[in-house]
């Protein structure tokens, strides 16, 4: 069973001071290795689809990020660890030069896991030296904090990508031992009215946030109610049983095409019996009372239509999340699977567990300005064809999330821990 990565909390302010920054740096970097620890070298090589990447690629790419954006800019006469790594481990920064094509990542047996560990050690040593010397320079510290947040995003992808890879194996191997969910009482699904009006959303202030969360701005929020908790497996089974996957009238046109091309009949990883699903603990009984996950936006949208409701907007979810409790359904708990919704809050499980699909296309906030230079490619260029998700998941590091956080995926994507939160207009 993997050691649960220690809950790191690196970046609540851009200005941390060298000592704190160094500690956070070490914690985040260690958390990545801890996620890889249960894996064989063989596991870390394979790429099960173009959307996913091998574990060792994630470990190398996050390292390259520090090397390329921090060390090369700030260490005089810096010599790259290996002349070929910039080409291999650049993900999508076109302005940083040519790169290895994404679908080919699974063909790279070299550098080996051991060689990449040496790469990480080397870059970490350089980084810690730099932090010690100049960790109090605000711009540099902010860049390092960005790199740590970037690494946390890839920690989530390590989890979701290896789950997808192991699921392709007919032997259905497990990444960890199963942990039973605590017995709980499921609250009936209810809709809870929320405040409306002209209200601010988006990030303001000095704490770290990605550029796509800015600027803070006013939005018009209409009268609405939010579901008190995510949709469960049991509720989703009712949709399946009611011919949810064969009734065209429930689906967006592109969703219906996708369903037919890919022969979708249930959420990803569900066994056709609807009794078990593949998890990182191997095949496990499907818990009717746990949140449904691994559904696409198309499925979430069709479910909502079937249920006589709609998905929430990102503004509605952000406002609701502002004062909600983070809970403990994060990658830090070592379960790697969403837990049942619990607690007495009117809106349960707004954070962690499963990412909530919204109906909001991923677009720039009014007045949005991307970061300067190559880092400007971080977020802005993806603002087309994708959909916003909110709240984090059981694969997200707890210290990585906040109310204004905007995740985004294509509407057909299902390999993230994505679920459904319903909403309704109020007359």
């Amino acid at each position: 069973m993997p050691t649960a990565p220690t809950a790191a909390a690196p970046e609540k302010r851009a200005m941390l001071g060298p000592t704190t920054l160094a500690r956070h740096f070490a914690q985040v970097r260690a958390a990545s290795l801890a996620l890889a620890a249960p894996l064989a070298a063989e596991d870390q090589v394979i790429q099960s689809m173009p959307d996913a990447s091998p574990t060792k690629w994630h470990l190398a790419h996050t390292t390259w990020f520090f090397e390329s954006f921090v060390l090369e800019q700030n260490v005089p006469d810096y010599t790259p660890h290996h002349p070929g790594f910039a080409y291999l481990f650049n993900s999508y920064y076109n302005t940083k030069g040519q790169m290895h094509r994404r679908p080919l990542r699974g063909l790279l047996s070299r550098p080996t896991v051991d060689e990449l560990r040496a790469y990480r050690d080397d870059i970490d040593a350089h980084m810690l030296r730099l932090i010690e010397q100049r960790g109090d320079e605000p711009q540099l510290a902010a860049l390092i904090v960005l790199g740590l947040n970037h690494e946390q995003q890839h920690q989530e992808l390590i989890v979701t990508d290896i789950k997808h890879a192991l699921a392709q194996n007919p032997l259905q191997p497990a990444y960890r031992e199963p942990i039973a969910d605590a017995p709980t009482t499921l609250h009936p699904l209810e809709f809870v009215a929320q405040p409306d009006g002209i209200l601010p959303i988006g990030h303001a202030g000095d704490d770290f946030a990605f550029d796509n969360e800015t600027p803070q701005h006013q939005v018009l929020i209409r009268p609405h109610a939010l579901a008190n908790r995510p949709i469960t497996n049991g509720e989703y089974k009712a949709f399946v049983a009611d011919d949810g996957y064969t009734r065209a009238d429930l689906w967006l046109s592109d969703g219906w095409s996708t369903l037919n091309e890919r022969h979708w009949q249930r959420p990803l990883y569900w066994h056709e019996s609807l009794d078990t699903s593949f998890t990182l603990a191997g095949p496990q009984p499907l818990d009717d009372d746990a949140p449904v996950c691994h559904v696409s936006f198309y499925e979430a949208d069709a479910f909502a239509r079937w249920a006589g409701a709609r998905l929430a907007s990102e503004a509605e979810l952000e406002r609701a999340a502002l004062n909600a409790d983070l809970g403990d359904d994060w990658v830090d708990n070592g379960r790697f699977h969403p837990s049942r919704s619990t607690g007495d809050a009117p809106l349960q499980h707004l954070y962690g567990g499963v990412w909530d699909w919204t109906h909001s296309p991923y677009s720039a906030y009014p007045g949005f300005t991307p970061l300067a230079g190559s880092l400007g490619e971080y977020n802005g260029k993806f603002m087309c064809n994708q959909v916003v998700l909110r709240g984090g998941s059981c694969a997200t590091p707890r210290s990585h999330i906040r109310a204004t956080y905007r995740n985004f995926f294509y509407p057909h994507s299902r390999w993230q821990f994505t679920g459904i939160r319903l909403a309704k207009d109020i007359a």
Copy 2:
């Protein structure tokens, strides 16, 4: 040279009375045939890509719409004109039953053009009889008016689809004789400040509008300015010359992928010399002072970034269009190509010429309710992955447009007459 279809103005109110409705019906139906008149039977069969349809398919499908949604529902003991036509000419109404797959439309040599003409005549006779008898029933009249607006949409597609088909032919055949543009003076590109605040958009009232234009609702419009006219071919050439198609930093990620996969280097139909373009009058010199057209959203967005501006939102364009003049750059003028921007209005050419790409993803307005039954598939199910366009084009019937009109296409689509209107935030 084709006879320019008579400017029909069928549907300003849902309640027209049988006589007026019958006249409008006849005018719109005749306009479709007028568009097909210059074509050989051979031209009307071919389908040059899955997005496009053969001319004769459009002529049949619009007829099937009346047969299926009007006659079958309202004429006692109605017998379909042909038992196979419902299967062949249903476009995408899944709830109306099985249908012939779209990419296969170009394989249908039968029914022939003459057989389809007989089909149209038969349905028209039935329809006129029905209108005479019951054209004063509001619901029925509204349904017929919807059918006429539907047919006008396909009139635009007849033009754009046959342009694409003829362009594939190495002989570069013309659909009509060229008509020279009147000499004009091009106004320099300027940005004109527009009203902001909380303002209504969307359709209200009894006049015809599609369901996706409703309900009227308040939006928050921020301080901004709009370009005084569309971008011209000459201005777009400067973007091409400035390596616009090879600089990754100017493009959305999906746009950059599309550009590379499809080897885009200029707008659709431009010759590589940048001196001529294929038009419905065959290859013609490229007019530097006319609006650029046949660009995708990705190209429009990249151009705007290059120009230090942005695309407008659909709300901004709707507000600006409310009191603008319709002009005469419509399919009715028989040119089938956008004219130069003219006139003294602060904002020229808001209507006609080229559809303006907005930066607004095509989504439901708050409180949107689709039509009941199969007609609910008309608009709502496409509200994902597409982008709103505004204002109509030189292929749109003049009587078809209005300020609240929402057109939508995928961001990679280029075969419509689509162009660029810039906007800017004002501090």
Copy 3:
């Protein structure tokens, strides 16, 4: 109902004399037009798969063959009928310059059927003038005879390609009226021992033959017996009923892959009921006593294995055909469908009806020399990956065939009138 093309017999000797050559030229050219006569202009445009071509393309390409290989070489100052036709109507003669890509042939609405008729008339006039003047020159006459044989090959393709195109149409339109087969008595399937030893095959002498039939050479033919007639639909149904399409052990590896990818469960054009098949007379009852047709080599080979036999070699069939009767199951009879096997010969139906798949890969005969120049591309370059067929079919002009004739198609091809003749080794 189409007029059956007159049985032309153009080319038994390369040296015919101008008058005979002119008559043969006119007959063959007229036969092509007769095949197109029952078709609407719309039918002649469509291309239902990359392997097939539109009718009007065949009519134009065979004309271009005369223009390009005869007129341009032999008429002083010859001006091509249209400067674009060489590009459009070259099929695969790479050494003749660039050509329009094959899968795009169905996008060409222009030239229209009428324009191509004018093209044919123009070239025919030139050709007849040239034949009158120089038809007694052996080399020129031989070239023209080659062109006529080439046109006859395309006559067969006109039939098979339009059958495929019409079959895609859900309306299942007919090309001609059905003609009932004469009542006959089916002979039981028997194997008839044939001569063996070192025997000559291949063409020798002055009569016309394609280069791939030369040179005549000795082959070693082993003791064997041939089936007395082609396999019937009824016999093939037994194979289907005996799980012929689901037993991997009966199939070649590439055949099994093809079957699975294309979901083959029966011959092309058979209805899933196994009771009817699509014919050029529209859907018709499947005649158990008629030869099975539209099977691929893979199916023929699997059937043979199931039947405890094998397919014949091309040498075996050629020797058997040397003295066989041509019969009348050719395109000339206007049925466009194979008739039942009849007659008293020990080996029925060696000619006409269905092409017999052999087990012989299509290769060069020892000492084979292709024609000089561009015509060298006629046959030799296809001698890889294809399989030889023998005997002609109900879509072949009777005057086109001979014992040494080698047809060839890919082993997965099914749209020709292809059937099964079994053979067996004799100990």
Copy 4:
């Protein structure tokens, strides 16, 4: 540097006796592991194309062959080592049940290399016990000898597949240290006349041979001459320099299509400078005097046409090889790259170095009978669309080859060590 696998010579007669058989078994099995020894675990997982398989798959599949075809049939109450392995490691024996799809082999991180080593050890122990007890039973011994020959075939694939995989890596990693070729004098290319007439080819007698080498039979061999040695890199460069890859007239039609689709401009692994090529010792200078390798049949055929010659037939090469010396250009020498042609024989290098493409389609010999049961799928079902190669290569175990040996690949395949031996007809 890998230890060169010991030259094993296991199977000259089916009846070896238990002791000899056990020794041969151990030698062949050890040779496979020796080939994998230089590889990291990561290297053994990846699959660079559907045609190739991961190293560890080869190691497992050859083991499964013994388990499935020998142990399960002959060991009472045998329990499979792992219930999932039959599904994972069956290659193509459809009659042995369902199997994992070939293109997915690179997604299997589990079983790990270590787990597969344990699998091999377990099966080896069972096998050696069985050999000790019953190794003198002729049928059982023959089956085991077949399994050893099967394993040797996969040894060659281990070499060629890992070469392809490492070549995809931009780091161009080496499998072994380079070994310089001994200096030699290249003999000028000459054609040496060979015996003709009616001559026997094919295997007869008790020694091991694959079923596809039988039965021995007479063939008619025409007067011809064979090139005295394989074509060299230097000679092939002249073909490239003479526009060999841009002249359509030199190529078979399918070859020309393949060349254009895959953008071939030189042999696989050649650098575009034509100065170096990727080898298992990493990028190395291209030796003009060494045999060209990694050419497809299409390239070999085009080269022959350009050179005014042709490829040999398989019968011609078999007759020539009957009394030729095996030489030492085999996998046993540890170079993993073809050496220069040397020696005083009139025909050099008929064995080893590079497989010689013939012009013979891979077909059944007259009277061919496949093995009974699932082993009947070994060879016969591939007798379509492939081409015969002769003589073995630098990746073949020396003890594996013989004059009658028939290898076969698709005409587009280039990742084997395949080269060119010219032939000519003699008048």
